[in-house]
């Protein structure tokens, strides 16, 4: 029972981690919470499904197109919603409202165009399951975990090992100094939004397949949990977001199975509050050395 719940928790937690990375990256670069990230997660799941059932017919192609479109949405949020605020040096709170606004617009648009009822989702990852004693592992769980780990590795390598990643880290420390190095700061910020949107969209699609249904409100609850995961792990630190996401998933499933499923969100957030009380910068968060 415990082991089974642990496996379920790790699976769902790995998808929270993908969304959490997005919150963490954008916060790292802009010191701004992109509240639209949860809606982009939901939108990603929807776009894949709608392209698949309505237009394209091939799941792989729909998935690819879906990711491209969500990346475009991420780009749009920054390019047309936030860049002007940055140039005018508007207080950060205004940008927060902008991302909240985009989150509402995306969610409403999905309801209007695709309907607000829960939709069945095809599970393309179902190739059977294996049972050890009383523990069952499905192929979906294995594939979701593998894809998530792969994406986390890919994101980490991109951020910590490539020139582009170095530029992102530079922008997160000082936009003006980055500009003086010749870094295209706006380009790097756009890229950050696109990467975080793509990760969220992949997570949305995986979760749609895992639960075999999708609805327009899923972005709000997962968005909050993923944001919490990022804070739990330490905002702006990628490994923190990853571990935070997986832990959040584990807390939630264990809480639901041992205490009550009605309290699943309350339990995970209670744990979050306690962690923050004792470790305000999160599990992997750095202490501020220097104000940038």
């Amino acid at each position: 029972m415990f082991l089974q719940q642990l496996i379920n928790g790790i699976t769902i937690g790995s998808t929270y981690a993908l969304v959490a990375i997005g919150y963490s990256m954008v916060f790292g670069v802009l010191e701004l919470i992109n509240f639209a990230n949860g809606s982009v997660y939901m939108l990603g799941g929807y776009l894949t499904l709608m392209l698949y059932t309505g237009l394209v017919g091939s799941f792989g192609l729909s998935f690819g197109l879906g990711l491209l479109l969500t990346a475009l949405v991420g780009y749009t949020i920054d390019r047309f919603g936030l860049r002007r605020l940055r140039e005018k040096k508007v207080p950060k709170i205004a940008g927060l409202i902008t991302t909240l606004g985009f989150s509402q617009i995306i969610e409403n648009a999905v309801r209007i165009f695709f309907g607000s009822e829960t939709k069945p989702y095809p599970n393309m990852l179902d190739f059977g399951q294996v049972t050890f004693g009383n523990v069952t592992i499905t192929s979906s769980q294995v594939i979701i975990l593998m894809i998530s780990i792969l994406l986390m590795l890919l994101t980490s390598v991109t951020v910590y090992r490539t020139k582009m990643g170095k530029a992102m880290l530079a922008v997160s420390q000082s936009q003006e100094a980055s500009q003086l190095m010749g870094i295209n700061v706006n380009g790097i910020i756009s890229l950050t939004f696109m990467i975080s949107s793509i990760l969220a969209a992949i997570a949305g699609t995986l979760v749609g397949m895992y639960y075999q249904n999708i609805d327009a409100s899923m972005g709000a609850s997962v968005g909050m949990k993923a944001l919490a995961s990022a804070v739990l792990g330490g905002v702006g630190v990628l490994p923190g977001a990853m571990v935070g996401g997986v832990l959040m998933g584990i807390f939630e499933t264990l809480g639901a199975s041992y205490i009550s499923s009605g309290y699943r969100d309350a339990i995970s957030f209670a744990i979050l509050i306690i962690v923050i009380l004792f470790k305000p910068s999160g599990l992997f968060g750095r202490k501020q050395i220097n104000k940038v």
Binding site: K163, K166, A167, L169, A170, Q173, S174, E176, A177, Q179, L180, M181, G182, I183, N184, R286, I289, N290, V292
Partner: protein
Amino acid sequence: MALLRLEHIVVNYGSIKALKDISFTVEEGEIVTLIGSNGAGKSTTMRAITGLKELAGGKIFYQEQDISKWSTRKKVENGIVLSPEGRQIFPRFSVLENLRMGGYLRTKAQCEETLEVVHQLFPILKERENQPAGTLSGGEQQMLAVGRAMMGGPKLLLLDEPSLGLAPLVVKDIFSLIQKIRDLGTTVLLVEQNARSALKISDRAYVLETGKIVLSGTAEELLRSDQVQKAYLGM
């Protein structure tokens, strides 16, 4: 032929006129200093030259090309590099990562070559290369900021208040290093409140007051000028 020429530059911050009509030139191989008190517009001039602040009027020429509308990136690519006021190093990067970031637009080979020069000029940056830059002392951070700007391969190096907040001995070091950098073939435009030390190593200087150039001449002329002695040298 002037390396840099500003013609009637006007810069506004909202309704405040920060630069009112600034014109000056920097010739190749010179050290030119802008002196002036707080709020005179020295840093704004630097920001205007590098494109961090847009012009409200006037034109900037670099190697006889109008660069008024160039992006900061394009200017860096073409050899105009600023070591900004307040140093603005990347505190979480190591010293070496900071230096490499300075060579962001250059090839690896170019970076390695310049890195050696920078290490010769500032041996402390080699000693501390793996230390997070945020933990360096003020003087070391200043050297890092100058070294990082050098990594961009500047033809024209802009230094904004390199002596700010440093101990007198370190200030002396910084100024002698600026001379060395010039001797290596880099033209330097310097902004300083520390007028005496700056003038001692400069070829020419301009005095800024409330967004206008009120005096100009060779460094020796200005060192002897009554006006400068009273206002900036405390004599």
